[in-house]
């Protein structure tokens, strides 16, 4: 059953206000042109969330967030957010058809391109039955990252429960200031150009080493964009297993992000790259918010994400902790070199090059660990019993990627692969090995 929608409902305030997309947010728009590039989040609910309460909460959420009332329109040779110009958030309601129904819906949403020109830049689907429901929300990656998604959804769930959201930040200026306008001294003007030149020099050296060390090694397949479809594979670690990971992280002084990265790299190497020792490209992510000249509050929507691409040497029989340490050291080196700012600013050019050449994959793997997530709605008519999130991928992206977080003491790791790269059985095998590798390392 779908709720009636009025696409011609007037927007709450007069149409107006343009802000050009820059950096990674523009790169993500370019990516979305080729293949839908949304983040799809899932909230598994127990209890009662009536559809009218959800509809009202979505309307209120949209009133609060300028970016949820924005569209993306051509502006000269560029693209820009046009604020206060989108209709209401689409909500589709259906009867829940089994415990895994949400996974099929997530895959549909990952394949669905949100129409930037008409907006809004968000869609919602609600699968409901007598015991609860699954809330599936898709948002283009241009306007959301892991940091701002958490408070946004806390706000939505509080509104659904009839509560006033806890946030106190004034978000009326949300989306108006792009990250590069807030870069710290040293990464503006000539400073950024110098850092970019140094980064390009390092990348050229890295590329030559990568090619030399990759001789005779399998090359990742490059399929036409339309061939690959995103497939989801969520894995979860029990509370004791998750606590063991945390304790091992502290004992070895290796971040959980580096541990998860090492496990994924190792499993992918064993299954897809049969050579004894291979260099693999791995992507991890970093948040710019706290690194800017003026901190951007977490509850202000926007794309303040940046990424590091590391080349990691993976040995078939190598020690797990050596690999995790290698990932960590390369991450720290990249972070301290200012790569986060350079990568953000150069991202559109990089994506144009990748789509223009269609000659290589961005990486073999990608991992993002978002830390602990609190989605409790105390005393409300429903409870959040599980949280999942997936960022879309395409055939020039990583072969395996995954977003991870701790929720109620359990590690949720939502893996994503393309059916053009591997079948479900192959992905299950890799996921099983990831689990085994981590459990062995922490036992």
């Amino acid at each position: 059953m779908a709720l009636p929608q009025d696409p011609h409902r007037p927007s709450p305030v007069p149409v107006g206000g343009l802000r050009k997309l820059v950096g990674l947010e523009e790169a993500m728009r370019i990516t979305d042109d080729a293949a839908p590039f949304s983040v799809v989040s899932v909230f598994r609910l127990a209890g009662s969330l009536p559809v009218p309460a959800l509809r009202a909460a979505l309307d209120e959420l949209q009133q609060r967030h300028p970016l949820l009332r924005a569209r993306i329109v051509p502006e000269g040779k560029a693209h820009a957010y046009l604020f206060d110009a989108a209709g209401p958030i689409p909500l589709e309601v259906a009867d829940r058809d089994g415990a895994d129904h949400w996974m099929r819906v997530v895959e549909e949403e990952l394949a669905h391109r949100i129409d930037f020109a008409t907006g809004p830049l968000i869609r919602c689907r609600y699968l409901v039955d007598g015991g609860g429901g699954d809330l599936v929300i898709a948002i283009p990656h241009n306007i959301v990252d892991a940091t701002s998604a958490a408070p946004l959804f806390r706000e939505l769930l509080a509104l659904c429960a009839g509560r006033a959201p806890a946030g106190t930040t004034d978000i009326t200026a949300e989306g108006r200031t792009p990250a590069p306008a807030l870069y710290p001294k040293g990464y503006t003007g000539a400073g950024l150009a110098l850092a970019a030149a140094a980064q390009m020099g390092r990348q050229m050296v890295d590329e030559m080493q990568f090619r030399w060390n990759s001789r005779g090694v399998r090359t990742a397949p490059i399929h036409p964009i339309a061939v690959g479809h995103c497939r989801v594979l969520p894995i979860k670690f029990s509370a004791p297993a998750s606590e063991a990971l945390v304790q091992a992280s502290r004992q070895h002084r290796i971040t959980l992000n580096s541990m998860l990265s090492a496990a994924m790299l190792s499993a992918v190497q064993r299954n897809l790259y049969p050579s004894p020792r291979v260099p693999l490209r791995h992507i991890i992510f970093s948040d710019l918010r706290s690194r800017l000249s003026r901190s951007v509050p977490d509850d202000m929507l926007g794309c303040f994400l940046t990424m590091f691409r590391l080349t990691v040497n993976v040995e078939r029989d190598g020690a797990f902790w050596d690999l995790a340490r290698q990932v960590q050291e390369k991450t720290v080196r990249a972070a301290r070199s200012g790569e986060r700012f350079v990568a953000y600013s150069m991202a559109p050019g990089m994506m144009k090059m990748i789509f223009g050449l269609k000659a290589f994959r961005m990486a073999a793997t990608a991992v993002s660990y978002a830390g602990a997530l609190d989605m409790s709605v105390s005393g409300g008519p429903f409870d959040v019993t599980g949280v999942h999130a997936f960022a879309a991928n395409m055939t020039l992206g990583p072969e395996l990627s995954g977003l991870a977080r701790l929720f109620r003491g359990e590690l949720y790791w939502d893996l994503l692969y393309l059916d053009s790269d591997m079948d479900a059985a192959g992905a299950q095998t890799i996921a099983g090995q990831i689990r085994t590798i981590l459990e062995s390392a922490t036992s």
């Binding site: 945390v246 992280s249 502290r250 002084r253 290796i254 971040t255 992000n257 706290s290 690194r291 901190s295 960590q328 991450t331 720290v332 972070a335 301290r336 830390g371 602990a372 997530l373 609190d374 701790l406 003491g409």
Partner: protein, 76 residues
């Protein structure tokens, strides 16, 4: 009683900073990376014999937040 100044000193030691203040933000003001935050947590756990809950780290932004977290960890 663990004083805020003790936590400031521990943070300064890990980050190589001379005089961190209680309200300094670990990342924004002190330039800490995630590995630095991990090292600070382990240092505080060892120094004060507490177990810091990973889930509670989501609410830590400043040195003062860390101090509060250590005090709460002592009480548990």
């Amino acid at each position: 009683m663990i004083e805020i100044d003790d936590v400031c000193r521990a943070v300064g030691l890990v980050l190589g900073r001379r005089d961190p203040k209680a309200d300094d933000r670990l990342e924004a003001d002190l330039g800490a990376e995630s590995i630095d935050v991990l090292n600070i947590v382990v240092t505080l756990e060892q120094k004060y014999g507490v177990a810091i809950d990973e889930s509670a780290m989501a609410h830590v932004a400043t040195v003062r937040d860390l101090h509060t977290l250590v005090l709460n960890s002592q009480k548990r």
